[in-house]
Symmetry: C2
Subunit: 444 residues, 2 copies
């Protein structure tokens, strides 16, 4: 390979090597061949800054790739792109501005920083002609920034609302479903490492408010001051309230709400516990999940749910921003190259490999022994029954038999259905539906 | 303004001026100032092809902008970008290939065309160095293509499944909720214009299968042949089945399912009615809505719901692709310029402008007349009650009063709560939560 054909390398520097930093390094590295395939450019994690070099970490990287000096990464001429994952405000801001000055684009998960200094930072990035990616800053793995900014570009937004903090949602969900008190669930959440060191962020709505301010800016172009908006947390919610809400057809959720009145162009932004009607997907978004409902003037309401935090979801969003920056800086077209693999790399599964359980409805002669014949027929094809019910069809000498099976496969069930169809006393072509199991594990 | 500073114009030609074509024209035109602001480029609908010039249309455009000759648009050197919205296969394919040859990018909503000839078309676009956008081809207004291709770029996909056809979902939803037979709901759906001229597309799963094939390609890079996969429709589903499914904790939905087994890299693609557990968002995605659940190896499960068809949602997706193509062709950076408005254009609302109803919980002395005093206090502030319940607190001389209000505003409720707090016999700071109403209409 001569030098000209050698793919360009984009070296990534990671500031902060905690959970998300390590996840970003891992997934960037694991997918290195894929980046080259779809981007025609190598994307490589090169250096990361840490508080302590010696600390034991899950992700093992060469010791000389680690430094305690974040500035040395931002000033390293070999590094093309920075992932700012240290959190906090002042240091993160200085490093980000320094990176921009050095012509480096920055990708961040730092909602507090953007909420407080977004205006200055976006201006500085624009002035420097670099990118500032922040998909990971709102709702972890849910691609809310891109959807709002790109997919829904033709829309104005009368209403955006949703669950923007997974920890408080976890606490409310357990209080509601198990009747456990706030204090007891909080203790568990602390033990699970769900609660930030500064607990006000999760419990008093501050973290959700950071995100609501960012969404309000994206949707409406104005920076709302955190001090000017309603920010309430979950500490005053009791089991009694959750039960009363249920009786009213609602669940209490901590939601961020951004409304715009297009008659006078006034907007309201707030984060507070609210009774949300159970019919809303947001009311049924439970546990650590986040959910956001976007009502656009053109497209109507689109709802997105997914994991709002955690190593991998957040790292996934950091990486989608990294890829976008690499595309933009290398003139790679809108979208990305479509995946395309050779037939050897990916093949259609055979029916015998496609597992699952099934629902069968039969119309049979309403005579003794009919169900036994059906069960025998299925057993011959190694299809075992999970549930059975038989009921007479009114005004007719026939009965319905409704069965569900245990896990089998498409090959066996097809043979079984063919046999059932031939069975004496079975009057119509059997009705067969699949029972969908989202957690089905594939067979070898 | 001298010539060099004059913003570039991107002229858009629209092939097919039906529902989506007219919606695309309308929204492109209405937002013309916005495109210039965020893109620095003017984007203008210029010509559209129709079957009959004279036909009465909702969108009025100059007669000389209409032609019955689609080829003249594709060959027009003044037109930079084509929206192919005529549907069908052969003519659409020829026009698309001709556009590519002429160096024009194409945006389409044509799932049947991509399903059948995607491989050839994407290759031709790449060879010609142009873009082929197809966000609108799957799930109308839901930005599934961009999320799958860009936001979830770091993921592999063990499971993608969802409701990909709104018409069949509308029919199943009404059968289930109202107990109306398939034939009767179908009659209504026809009258509402929900059913395609070729009814097999909606009722026999073919339309959903087109979309499943496209999603399988995006996620796994292989083109599955429509003839090789399971495609079943909704004609055999009876009210009895829907009720039996309910008893099993499920709803029957017509779903497209794409699974990959990463042990042997076999994939299965199918469209069929299935019993989906009610806990899944997809099971609760009703009416004409579509919903797609994407399980990614990095990010976990992300679910998107929204309108899968219709003029505005589909046009919104067409336009997001148009904007992406304009960005790519004009070197406009990843993302788009953030919206930024002057403080005059958009202001924070005052508390009195923020309407809503509220939930209040009070701890009061358990004495006669207490509830009346509370109600009087609220009435003084023009807050009227919607629901009231009072219950004694066990082992205590106090009672809980739980109220919800009719619609009021933040200013009035704050005053009311301050008064309640001062009220004799009210023992703790009142607990106040908002009752969220997604359909609240803003006050002037």
């Amino acid at each position: 390979m001569n030098v000209e054909n050698k793919p360009k390398i984009v070296n990534v520097g990671i500031l902060g090597f905690g959970t998300v930093g390590q996840g970003t390094w891992k997934h960037l590295e694991e997918n290195s061949q894929f980046w080259e395939k779809i981007l025609g450019v190598q994307v490589k994690p090169k250096r990361a800054s840490v508080r302590s070099i010696q600390k034991e970490r899950k992700i093992k990287i060469a010791e000389n790739a680690l430094t305690t000096d974040s500035e040395s990464i931002v000033n390293d001429p070999d590094i093309d792109l920075i992932c700012e994952l240290i959190g906090g405000i002042e240091e993160a801001k200085e490093l980000t501005l320094r990176a921009f000055e050095n012509g480096k684009s920055v990708v961040t998960a730092n909602k507090a920083l953007i909420c407080e200094h977004g205006e200055e930072l976006f201006e500085a990035a624009e002035k420097a002609g670099v990118h500032y990616g922040f998909e990971a800053s709102v709702a972890g793995g849910i691609p809310i920034i891109k959807v709002l900014r790109e997919s829904m570009v033709a829309n104005e937004f009368p209403l955006i609302y949703g669950i923007l903090n997974g920890t408080s949602n976890y606490i409310l969900t357990r209080m509601e479903s198990e009747g456990v008190s706030f204090e007891d669930v909080l203790k568990d959440a602390r033990e699970l490492g769900y609660v930030e060191a500064d607990e006000a962020l999760d419990l008093d709505g501050v973290d959700a408010a950071h995100k609501a301010v960012i969404l309000a800016y994206l949707a409406h172009g104005i920076w709302v001051n955190l001090d000017d908006i309603t920010v309430e947390g979950i500490r005053r919610i009791s089991i009694e309230d959750l039960q009363a809400a249920r009786k009213l057809g609602c669940k209490i959720k901590l939601i961020g709400v951004i409304r715009r009145n297009f008659k006078n162009d006034h907007i309201s932004v707030g984060v507070y516990p609210a009774l949300v009607p159970i019919a809303e997907i947001i009311a049924r978004t439970d546990g650590v999940y986040n959910g956001i409902s976007l009502t656009g003037s053109v497209v109507g309401t689109v709802v997105l749910t997914g994991r709002g935090a955690g190593q991998d979801p957040t790292a996934g969003s950091v990486i989608s921003d990294v890829v976008d920056v690499v595309k933009a800086q290398n003139g790679i077209s809108a979208g990305i190259k479509l995946r395309h693999v050779s037939p050897e790399e990916c093949k259609p599964a055979k029916p015998v490999e496609i597992g699952g359980s099934f629902y069968i409805r039969l119309t049979v002669d309403d005579k003794p022994g009919q169900l036994a014949k059906v069960a025998d027929c299925l057993a011959e094809h190694q299809v075992s029954l999970a549930t059975v019910s038989q009921s007479p069809q009114s005004g007719s000498p026939t009965a319905s038999i409704i069965l569900t099976t245990h896990e089998t496969n498409e090959h066996s069930i097809n043979l079984a259905i063919q046999s059932l169809e031939q069975l004496h006393g079975v009057n119509e072509k059997p009705v067969l539906f699949r029972v969908f199991d989202p957690n089905l594990t594939p067979k070898e």
